[in-house]
């Protein structure tokens, strides 16, 4: 039985991986929902550029407007907030779950992007997601953080959201 976490080959009947200690469940491989590969035209999402302030101090918080969602979300970012899609069978879980906003249909990865808090700014980094993260229409290079500004548009797969800073 091959461990879905570390790929180590365990003898059948083992209940935990000998190598990484994770629970081996027989049905695990069949229930993991892989992230859908989307085939779409990037022109569908026109870019925009309005430049707000990049200053984000310790008392600030984020208002996140997800397109097609009813209410804006208030987010108090931690040192690092991982956005993604919760999947009970996945070894890693996001801090903020986008499943209620149609993350699966919109091609959001289980671990998609992270917002990090620095001294006076916020940065966003794509965590090697399947369908990419766009900031104001520009695709981010995985693992390279970019500074976020008030009013920025981010896109995770096809899920679009606007970020506003509030103090």
């Amino acid at each position: 039985m091959i461990c879905p976490y570390c790929g180590y080959r365990n003898r059948p009947g083992f209940l935990y991986c000998e190598e990484c200690g994770q629970r081996l469940a027989e049905s695990l491989s069949s229930t993991t929902v892989p992230t859908r590969e989307l085939d779409f035209d990037t022109d569908e999402f026109a870019s925009r550029s309005t430049w707000g302030t990049a200053r984000f101090d310790q008392q600030s918080f984020i208002i996140l407007h997800i397109r097609d969602a009813d209410d804006p979300i208030t987010l108090q970012p931690q040192q690092r907030t991982v956005l993604g899609r919760q999947d009970t069978t996945s070894p890693q879980q996001p801090d903020f779950d986008l499943t209620p906003y149609g993350a699966l249909e919109k091609g959001v990865s289980r671990i998609h992007a992270a917002i990090s808090r620095n001294d006076d700014t916020l940065t966003i980094v794509d965590m090697s997601s399947a369908n990419g993260t766009h900031l104001n229409g520009q695709r981010l290079i995985p693992d390279q953080p970019r500074v976020l500004r008030d009013g920025d548009e981010i896109r995770l797969g096809k899920l679009i959201a606007h970020i506003y800073f509030k103090t």
Binding site: R11, G13, F14, L15, E18, C20, G21
Partner: protein
């Protein structure tokens, strides 16, 4: 010939079975246990028992004598039971070997909890205390305090002795009933630290004191406390441990500080069914020893053993005692010593078997388990109980989760195995492998809410990467604390 077990139960027949049924039952079991077909040490032990049972029951006169002796049996006698559960009840045959777990639990008689049966066990306790140079100062002071408090716990019914050792052994308190407590304490206060550490001398002198009052109705126990390594006499210590186990004495070994040899003390204790422990701070010595002695006075049955005879095509790969004191067990022993069965806690042992490839469909036996021990409250203490365990081999096994008790225990046991595997890799000179395994261990510990231990594992991973070696402290902490986690998992089993 006198037997100290029930020959009907051992052969799995009723007390009115006719002679041909006895023979048939014997042959059926012998086919699984005979040394020609089954090389498992447990099978050898059990084969002797069924042979004795068969010889007794097929001799009309001996059988009548045995039956008569059972008439006069005290109905108030207390017993223990053996409960076995598998990780899977139905199994699909595979083209390769597969692993099956059994959890074996020995449970004291529920009647023992009731008032009229509740009787505290009487102790025949020997302390073997290291007073070598390295013990000087606070260490020896704390040990003295611990010994004083142990004396306070004892009753005039108990027997107590103390031996101190460095390069040679000295009897501080010869075996005596505990009547003059202050006089005993005064002798302990006189101990001084000096010299080296030679464990065999201390152990031999301690055993000699314990033997003076050795009796089947008592808890005959030696506690060895040391902070150092012994050189050249380890094999003699182990030989002595084997010898005293047969006599009915158990040894617990406690290591203080970082310098002692954990492999040696583990082996010494587990040979006798005793426990081994790591006392990492001098301050916890007092509490630790006191708790240990308190558990000794709460014993239902002593000298518990388990013999495991897997079927000839099945292999017993490992055995681990989860409760009351987590400890690896040696599967090379035919009759594995498990120590004491306490009144309020089960002894639970997790067994790992390897089943062959291409199993035939149908119900089949896995292993025959026999638990034995001396019930202290009974007039004739020896008692044995048997479980012959089977599972179903089927093309469509039930989709069920393994029992929570097995999952919990195994989850924690896997952590213990991971630190073991890291050390193995290191011993084979594979530093990268060892580092990776320690890092995996740290990750799992963190996920399971053990941040301090996780931190320690991570620190050791770095240590290994730089120095190609673990620190003594970190190695012992990881080994004994991952073991303690197992206890956390198994206590819940006992509480249900």
């Amino acid at each position: 010939m006198p037997v100290d077990f029930d020959p009907y139960i051992i052969l799995g027949i009723s007390p009115d079975a006719p002679a041909d049924e006895i023979k048939a039952a014997y042959r059926r079991i012998a086919r699984r246990l005979h040394p020609d077909v089954n090389r498992a040490p447990g099978a050898g032990v059990q084969f002797q028992d069924i042979t004795v049972a068969h010889d007794l029951l097929t001799d009309a006169m001996q059988r009548r004598r045995y039956d008569d002796s059972q008439q006069s049996k005290d109905p108030n006698n207390l017993y223990f039971s053996l409960r076995v559960m598998p990780s899977k009840r139905s199994i699909m045959p595979l083209s390769e070997p597969q692993v099956l777990y059994l959890l074996a639990e020995i449970l004291p008689d529920p009647r023992a909890q009731e008032g009229q049966h509740k009787r505290e066990s009487r102790l025949n306790l020997t302390l073997v205390l290291d007073h070598s140079n390295s013990m000087s100062g606070t260490r020896l002071d704390r040990v003295k305090v611990a010994a004083h408090q142990i004396i306070d716990q004892l009753t005039p019914e108990d027997v107590f002795s103390v031996v101190s050792f460095n390069d040679h052994a000295e009897v501080v308190i010869p075996a005596t009933t505990v009547t003059e407590k202050s006089a005993l304490k005064a002798r302990i206060s006189l101990m001084m630290a000096s010299g080296g550490t030679e464990i065999y001398k201390g152990l031999a002198a301690g055993v000699e004191q314990n033997r003076k009052y050795l009796a089947p109705r008592l808890v005959n126990h030696v506690i060895l406390l040391t902070d150092g390594n012994t050189y050249g006499d380890q094999d003699r210590c182990l030989a002595l441990a084997r010898e005293v186990t047969r006599e009915g004495i158990s040894i617990s070994a406690m290591g203080l500080g970082q310098e002692w040899n954990d492999k040696f003390l583990d082996e010494l204790a587990s040979l006798t069914g005793g426990s081994s422990a790591y006392i990492n701070s001098t301050n916890s010595v007092v509490k630790f020893l006191n708790d240990h002695v308190r558990n000794l006075s709460n014993i239902f049955a002593e000298r518990a053993h388990l013999s495991i005879a897997p079927d000839p095509d099945i292999r017993l790969e490992s055995a681990f005692k989860l409760s009351p004191n987590p400890q690896p067990l040696s599967v090379d022993e035919g009759n594995i010593p498990l120590g004491s069965l306490q009144l309020n806690r089960t002894i639970s042992v997790l067994l790992q078997f390897e089943m062959p490839a291409e199993l035939q469909f149908g119900f089949r036996s896995i292993a025959r388990l026999v638990a034995s021990g001396d019930v202290l409250a009974n007039r004739l203490q020896k008692y044995q109980v048997l479980s012959d365990f089977s599972v179903e081999i089927t093309p469509e096994p039930q989709q069920e989760d393994p029992p929570a008790a097995i999952l919990d225990a195994l989850g924690k046991l896997t952590l213990y195995r991971m630190q073991e595997r890291a050390q193995e890799a290191l011993e084979n000179g594979d530093v990268r492998e060892a580092t990776r395994r320690l890092e995996n261990l740290a990750t799992r510990l963190l996920e399971l809410g053990e941040p301090e231990l996780a931190q320690q594992a991570r620190a050791e991973a770095q240590q290994v990467a730089y120095t190609y070696n673990l620190t003594d402290k970190g190695r012992k902490a990881l080994k004994y604390q991952t073991r303690t986690l197992i206890l956390g998992a198994s206590v819940e089993i006992g509480d249900e």
